[in-house]
Every structure is written in C-alpha cells, then in structure tokens.
C-alpha cells in the first residue's frame, strides 16, 4: 500500500504552527517513513500534483487568495485539519474584526506613524494583489473542517500524536497537558 499523502499551508498565520511541526525533532525521520508530502512549505511543492489524504492548514482567511488556497485544499484533501488558534478562531489577525476595513487600510497606509515614505498616499490596488476581506474568517466558516488542533502554536507532541493516529488508525491518546494550559 502506498503511503498516505499530506499537504500543508500557512494562510493568515505567522508560520509558528509550521515551526511547531518541525519541533517534532528527530521524529521527522519516522514521519518520512509514514507519509509522503505534496503541496507544502516543508518540501516546497507549490501546487497540488495529486489527490492527498490529509491537509493541515495554519492561519485563518484574511484575503481572497487565502480563500482560494483553502478551497483548493478542500478539493484535494480527504481530511482537512485546522491547525492552531488562527485557523480555528482567526487568532491575532482577527483583532481587526469589528473595525471597518476602511479604517484599517487608512491606518496602515495613510495615517499610521510609519507611513512617512508613502508620500503619494497610495493604497496598494494592483490587480495582481489579493483582495482584502471585510474581516478575518476562521477556516470552518468557509469550508468543512474535519479536525481541530488547538494551541498557539499547538505543541509538536499534539501534532505528532494526531497525525500518527490518523495515519495508523490507532486510537488518539492525548494527555491533558497537551491541550490544556491552565
């Protein structure tokens, strides 16, 4: 039987969740025995080249490109996992939710203390650029999500336990301290 295929992406996130994936340390060697990677920053494959089994996504959706990537993942992956706070709830980027997007853009490009170089008061509007959404959306509001791994970032041991359980079909055994921090 061929190995299960994993794809990953970071949308409106900080790549911290991906760093946490790398924190599985030497278990990455075992991981390579267990699975094959397709579209992912881990192997730098930019577009899907085949159907995948597991998609792992960090970050919520703050622009049109995020939405398109997310929808691609849903199309290509049997199972989709929201990885971390931003994917699950919007996280830090969602702090702009509740402030009109107009005010956010004006603060960023016209009025903020660091926009001195923008003498012509231009707001980025090239057709090549992704369009900004009215707010940051958690992934499950846009496509169906099968599993959620909480944390900021989720601990490496949690990611490892979840992926191994999914791949081997073994029961998922998560110790309390992997998901609760109180």
């Amino acid at each position: 039987m061929s190995k299960p295929i994993i794809a990953t992406a970071s949308l409106a996130g900080c790549f911290g969740c991906h760093m946490s994936i790398l924190d599985i340390d030497d278990r990455i060697l075992q991981l390579i025995e267990l699975v094959e990677f397709n579209k992912s920053p881990i192997d730098d494959i930019k577009t899907f080249t085949k159907q995948c089994d597991i998609g792992i996504i960090e970050g919520g959706c703050c622009n049109s490109e995020n939405v398109e990537v997310l929808k691609e993942f849903r199309k290509h992956c049997k199972i989709l996992i929201s990885l971390g706070e931003c994917a699950i709830m919007g996280g830090l980027p969602a702090m702009r939710n509740g402030i009109p997007v107009k005010e956010c853009l004006e603060e960023a490009y016209l009025n903020g203390p660091t926009v001195g170089l923008n003498a012509e008061k231009v707001m980025p509007n090239d057709a090549e650029l992704p369009m900004i959404l009215d707010k940051v959306y958690p992934l499950h509001e846009i496509v169906k999500i099968d599993y959620y791994l909480p944390g900021c970032p989720p601990r490496a041991d949690l990611i490892w336990a979840a992926v191994v359980a999914l791949v081997t079909g073994d029961e998922l055994n998560i110790p309390y301290e992997l998901v609760k921090f109180d």
Partner: protein, 597 residues
C-alpha cells in the same frame, strides 16, 4: 464642569455606594460621562478611575461620548417590531439624515436602540430624554423631529395625557394604563395605611406567619414562597434591608409599570410591612431607568406617606422606624436578577453574585436582605388587611391569589389583566380578543413558546409559571425571524459577560439562528443548538444564562417543522460570500472586485 460634578458627589455624601446616582446625574447634565468626568468623580470619591469606569461602562444609558441634546431611544423589542418599529426607524433616519447609533452634526439629535421599555401595550414606543412617547408612526416622528429642531421642551411635544395618575401634574405622561381587568387583590379596592396599621398591631412573627399561611409566592416569576423568604431573613442578626425589584425588564412585561403608577402607596406600604416583619429600618425601591418619568411622583408619594407617618420615625406611635429611597438603574436587563440588583444598588456593575450566601443571609451591604417584586409587596398588603384565609381561597391550591398579566402582541385588547391563577391560555386568548394565533410566548423570552396544541394548559405556578409577560404571536408572523432571532439578539446584548458560556454561547446561538433564518442552515445546526443550549443552561451562574436558550429550545421542541422547512439536508454549507467580503476593501483602495469562482 469640575465644580458641578464635585457638587453632585457632595450631594451623595461622597459615598461610592451611590455611584449609580452620581453617574446618572452627570450623564443627565452633560449628556455623557466623559473620561474627564470619570477622573473627577474618582478623585472626589477617593476610588480608582477603574472603579468608576467599570460601573459606567456596564450600563446602556451611560455614554462616553455626548448624546444629542435630544437623545432618542427607540425600543427594538419584539412587540415594537411587530407594531411597525421599522417604519418609525426609517422615518427617523430619513428626517434627521443620520443612521441609528449616531448623532446629527450640530449635536441636536442622537438616535439609539434600546431594549423593551415596558410599553408593549402601546408600541412602537421610544424614550426621548427619559420622556416616554408611545404608539409612534411616520407622521408623529416627523412632528417630533420638527419640534426638536424648533427647540421645544420634550414634555411639550405631546398634547394628550394618559389616564389615571399618568395625567397627574407630577407625571404628565402620554402613557396609558390599559387596565382591562381589575381583580380583588392588587387592582382591587385599597385604602392607604389600613394593612400597615393592622400589621403594627400584630407581633412581627405573626405577620410572617400570616404571609406564610397565605401561600403567597414571588410574583417576579420564580415563585419562591414569600413568607419563607421573610422568615429566613428575620432569623439573621444585624441590620436588615427591604429591597423592591422594580427592574421590570423581561420583554413584554409592563404590569409593574401600572402598579407603580396606580398603586405606589400600596407598594411602599407593603415594603413597610415587610420591614416591620423582618426588622428592617431601610427600604430601597430599585426602579428601572425606563420608568424615570415617574420620579417626581414617586418622591411626592414618599413625602405624603412620611407626612401621614406611614413612613418615617415611630410609625403610628408603635416605635417602628422605616424609610424608603428610590434607586434608579441605568438600562441593564440582568439587574432584574436579585443579586445583580444588589450590586447595582451598591453602585457597582450589575453582575450576579455567587450563591450561597443568599441575599436573605448576605444581601445589600452584605446584610440580610429580602428582595421582592412590586406585585408581591402589593399582594402582602391585602393579605395582612384581609387575612391569609381570604387570600388562599383565591386561585389554585398551589398558586394562591391573583396574578397580573401584561398581555401584548397580536390581540385586540393589549393591556394589564388581574386574573385568578388557573386560567387557561385559551380563555386568556378569548379574553384579549386574539384570533389566528400561531403561538403564545409565556413569561417572556426566558419563558416558553407555546403552540396551539397546548392552549388548554393553565396559567399557574404548577403548570405555566409566569412573571406576567404574555406575547400573542399571530399566524402571519415569521416565528423564527420576528421572534426567536429578536430574543437571541436581546440575550446576546444583555448578558453581563461574567460567565464564559453566557458571554459566548448566546452569541453563537444568535449567529446560528440567524444563519438558519437567512437560509444557510443545515440539519446538523439544529442538534448543535440543542447541545449548546444544554451546556449554557448548566454552566451559568444566574437565571439569564440558565434560560436564555429557551427561545431556541422551546421552538425546536414545539415548532420543529419551521426549522425543518428552512434547513438543508447536507453535511456542510458555507454562508461565506466572496463578493460581499471584498466589496469594502476594493472600494477603499479603488480597484474592481474580480471574483474567480
């Protein structure tokens, strides 16, 4: 400004416990409680700014930014919407040129929404600088705005006065009593002072026994035996307090408004009887700010009772001292919860306390306190006057006496009815002239939505308990959109935010019902809402969170077909709309929104 605020603080003896009164006066005088005002108050009271801010920020009627010279608060509760609120809102926005939630450039008019103001029998209604305007329509709105622009005093913007005490020179309100049916107890015959006179001739323990024997149970809705509450409280040592809960905030309730208007003497007399029974010298009437139009009248009744020695020192020469002050709220539904009410009366945020200890043990100022509803105190007066046996003979074995109902919605005769417990819903509907009824919302949003198949059920504590709100919903209404969604918006707004589940689940439930109403719902959402409701009910501290999911759970139970019609039988459905989501940002930066689907 500083001198004036210091003056206000001085008038309340620099007592941080009177924070509500201080903030109310500052708000009324300056149109807001600004940051600067907060600093002045804090240093004058010798408390931190945060202590002031936390109270200020909790209540709807305190604002940081100045409201308009005329601050218009339109009621957006369910009955107001049924009776044409959207037209009133539309007209206000059209004539003033501003949206709700904002103020005209010249600072003259500001438009706000507010929760039920206790006028469900004469909607759509609004408060303008605390003056009530009822039965509004487009024409009246145009006239009101013209009057505001002409600088007219708010009290002069209407000509017709209401009936009874509403026309009293100290009230001068257009509010109507709409008393449709008077019964033998609260709206029956009443002679001022008779009940108290009799009580003072009895031993205080005997007064409690009389109330106990009458089987009187709390009229706010929970139905706790009144005599037992008084008994528990009287056994505690130290100063005692009598509090009256007149924070009638349950949408669709307005019966206390009528008692406060027409039976103020009776209420204060009932509080004095309770004070005598439990050994209290001080009473507080906690009155919702929406009824502040009764302020001058309330004070005059208190003065009158003091002059008649029904309140004051050595009442009727029996060595009993008792006096009452009126504490106003500032717009917070949760303050109807007794421990939140106490917090508010102490000048703090209206957040419910953990119980035990119960208020009868540690209540106002941590002293033994009884809190009863307006109607309960009024009933107690008649019980003492006529005896427990007389009272007990009225009603059903488990629900003694009469109940005031506030009936509104789709019926010919909305108003206040004093009924004998045990009346069926069907009889009630005939009484109010309601036809083609889809449902009756019993006991307000936190109660149950009753389908016609259950209209033979009885209004009684053992079957359908109610604090008095009855909203008739006609067949022409969209039950989920017009009623359930409105109720959930209300609860999401009014949660004090202290319990995590109440703060977040009410919002989630509101969003879910909205999703279903808008046609994005799926079958699974119904089960999820039931599951979340159960968690919410079990994990919150006070009655708000324990009942706020009732609009959803009781309609899922009784009107499941309305949900099934609207949800799709698919595993997942997104309500995300890319073109809507990018519209604003594309406009701001000046680029076309090109969507590739």
């Amino acid at each position: 400004m500083k001198d004036r605020i210091l003056n206000i603080v001085e008038n309340f003896e620099k007592d941080p416990g009177r924070m509500m009164d201080i903030l109310l006066e500052v708000q009324s005088e300056f149109g807001c409680v600004s940051h600067e005002a907060v600093s002045i108050i804090a240093s004058a009271l010798n408390v931190s700014e945060v202590d002031v801010t936390q109270t200020r920020s909790f209540y709807h009627f305190f604002t940081c930014q100045p409201v308009g010279k005329y601050a218009v608060y339109v009621n957006n509760s369910v009955v107001s919407c049924m009776k044409g609120m959207s037209e009133v809102v539309d007209e206000f926005e059209k004539v003033t040129g501003i949206k709700f939630g904002s103020k005209t450039q010249d600072g003259l008019i500001s438009l706000h929404y507010t929760a039920c103001i206790g006028m469900s029998d004469q909607e759509p209604a609004a408060l303008i600088n605390s003056v009530v305007f009822t039965e509004l329509n487009r024409e009246k709105v145009r006239k009101l705005v013209a009057d505001m622009r002409a600088g007219k005093a708010v009290q002069e913007m209407f000509t017709e006065l209401g009936d009874g005490i509403n026309a009293h020179p100290l009230v001068k309100s257009m509010v109507k009593n709409n008393i449709r049916k008077a019964g033998p107890v609260t709206l029956g015959e009443y002679t001022v002072g008779k009940g108290l006179m009799k009580a003072l001739g009895m031993d205080s323990k005997a007064v409690i026994t009389e109330v106990k024997d009458s089987n009187l149970r709390g009229r706010g809705g929970a139905g706790f035996p009144t005599g037992m509450k008084w008994d528990f409280c009287s056994r505690e040592s130290g100063d005692h307090y009598v509090l009256c809960n007149a924070d009638e905030g349950e949408p669709g309730t307005f019966k206390d408004r009528v008692l406060l208007t027409e039976r103020a003497h009776m209420l204060f007399e009932g509080m004095a009887i309770a004070g005598y029974a439990i050994g209290a010298k001080e009473g507080i009437l906690y009155l919702r700010n929406e009824y502040a139009y009764l302020k001058a009248y309330m004070e005059s009744v208190l003065t009158e009772l003091r002059n008649k020695n029904i309140l004051g020192k050595n009442i009727h020469g029996k060595g009993f001292d008792f006096d009452i002050r009126v504490q106003y709220g500032a717009g917070a539904y949760v303050c109807g919860e007794e421990s939140a009410l106490i917090e508010s009366a102490e000048g703090k945020r209206g957040e419910p306390r953990n119980r035990p200890p119960f208020p009868v043990q540690k209540g106002y100022k941590n002293k033994p306190t009884i809190i009863n509803n307006v109607e309960t105190f009024c009933s107690a007066v008649k019980i003492i006057e006529n005896g427990s046996a007389w009272y007990k003979a009225i009603g059903t074995p488990e629900s003694a006496g009469t109940k005031l109902l506030s009936i509104s919605g789709d019926c010919k005769l909305p108003g206040v009815y004093e009924i004998v417990w045990g009346m069926s819903i069907k009889e009630m509907l005939d009484m109010v002239g309601a036809e083609n009824v889809q449902a009756v919302q019993v006991a307000g949003p936190s109660g149950i939505c009753l389908p016609p198949s259950q209209f033979d059920r009885k209004i009684a504590l053992e079957d359908l308990p109610t604090g008095g709100s009855m909203i008739v919903i006609g067949k022409n209404r969209d039950l989920l959109k017009d009623v359930v969604l409105n109720f959930m918006e209300f609860f999401a707004d009014e949660s004090c935010g202290s319990c995590v589940t109440c703060r977040s689940f009410n919002m989630i439930l509101k969003n879910s019902i909205e999703k279903i109403v808008e046609g994005h719902g799926i079958k699974k959402n119904i089960d999820e809402m039931m599951a979340w409701s159960e968690i919410l009910r079990k994990t919150t501290r006070c009655g708000l969170g324990q009942t706020s999911s009732n609009p959803i759970t009781t309609t899922i139970k009784n009107f499941k077909e309305l949900y099934d019609m609207r949800v799709k039988d698919v595993e997942y459905q997104s309500e995300f709309d890319m073109s809507k989501a990018v519209k604003d940002s594309c406009e701001v930066v000046g680029r076309p929104a090109i969507i590739h689907e």
